[in-house]
């Protein structure tokens, strides 16, 4: 693996984790009685940008390297399900996340202006969904890497 590809992989993971940390912070602050809107908006933006950059760096690694050099090793090795289930699920579930993050960002702006308990519940739900799917995608990434022998 070239240095550039290794860097792409590292950035994909680090940016994804920053995005997850940010969306977690968004959620934890939104559910408070008096959310600190400055922090919430900044966290929601960080999450969206983190997910988008993680998408781009991951896409480069996946398209250029994973399919030709990593996938065949996993599929022909002891743990083919690491690709066939976990990688396939991860790469497709990941696609849902940036759009949820956009909705979460809009929701946070709306909540800042409008006091509406029903909107707060719905916004919390979409932020939580983004977080949960992101965590599952990250865990799947560990399983996929473990399948490379």
């Amino acid at each position: 693996m070239s240095q550039f590809l290794a860097t792409a992989l590292v950035l994909h993971v680090v940016l994804g984790l920053i995005a997850l940390g940010a969306i977690h912070l968004t959620f934890m602050q939104v559910i408070r009685k008096q959310p600190p809107w400055g922090i919430v908006v900044a966290a929601a933006w960080t999450a969206l940008l983190g997910f988008l950059l993680s998408w781009m760096t991951g896409a480069y690694y996946y398209v250029v390297h994973y399919g030709v050099a990593v996938k065949p090793r996993i599929v022909s090795g002891e743990f083919p399900w690491a690709h066939k289930i976990f990688m396939e699920a991860k790469e497709h579930v990941f696609l849902l996340i940036p759009f949820l993050a956009v909705v979460a960002l809009f929701a946070v702006y709306a909540l800042r202006e409008v006091e509406n308990p029903a909107l707060k519940s719905a916004a919390s739900a979409i932020i939580a969904t983004t977080l949960v799917l992101g965590v599952l995608v990250a865990a799947a990434g560990v399983i996929v890497s473990g399948g490379v022998r």
Binding site: M1, A6, L9, V10, V13, V14, L17, L20, G21, H24, L25, F27, M28, I31, R32, F79, A128, V135, A138, A139, G141, V142, I143, S145, G146, G147, V148, R149
Partner: protein, 166 residues
């Protein structure tokens, strides 16, 4: 300094902040509630403690995944399927979920405190344990037993030091 050493240092800092934060969260909570109410200053101390805890948690996650990426890049991926590791990851997940439940007030404070306190120490201990044969069942059996014991200890401490409303 190589990447592995850097990650070890970061992971230790995260553990110190997290385990220390979880410990002091309980100490500060008991001290704050001793007079029956939480003052503004006491609440500020609690918020600062939780903030440090969150920083520790984030450093642990970041450095933990750093180890995974390093293992992948150096082709030592066997550890990624270790039972001890996944038991620890499960407990880290429980720490995160518990924090959410506590924030939402969907879990009683004492149970939430017992789970948080036990989970942080359990993650520390699992991280410190050497390689060997581990059983997922026994790790979680001991973990759950520890949570229950810590709950009753915290309950006794709260009963002793915190006045109850009648």
């Amino acid at each position: 300094m190589d990447w592995y050493t850097f990650l070890i240092i970061t992971h230790i800092i995260g553990t110190v902040l997290g385990v220390g934060g979880a410990t002091f969260a309980e100490v500060h909570l008991i001290r704050a509630l001793r007079d029956g109410t939480m003052s503004r200053d006491e609440n500020s101390i609690m918020q600062a403690t939780y903030a440090i805890l969150r920083v520790g948690f984030f450093l642990l996650i970041l450095s933990g995944f750093g180890f995974f990426v390093l293992a992948r890049l150096e082709e030592h991926t066997g550890l990624l399927y270790s039972i001890k590791l996944w038991a620890k990851l499960g407990i880290v997940g429980i720490i995160g979920v518990n924090a959410v439940l506590l924030q939402l007030r969907w879990i009683p404070l004492l149970w939430g405190s017992a789970i948080a306190f036990t989970s942080w120490y359990a993650a520390l201990i699992l991280g410190a344990l050497g390689r060997g044969e581990y059983s997922f069942f026994w790790i979680y059996a001991v973990y759950i037993a520890a949570i229950i014991i810590v709950y009753f200890v915290l309950r006794a401490i709260h009963a002793r030091y915190i006045p109850h409303k009648h």
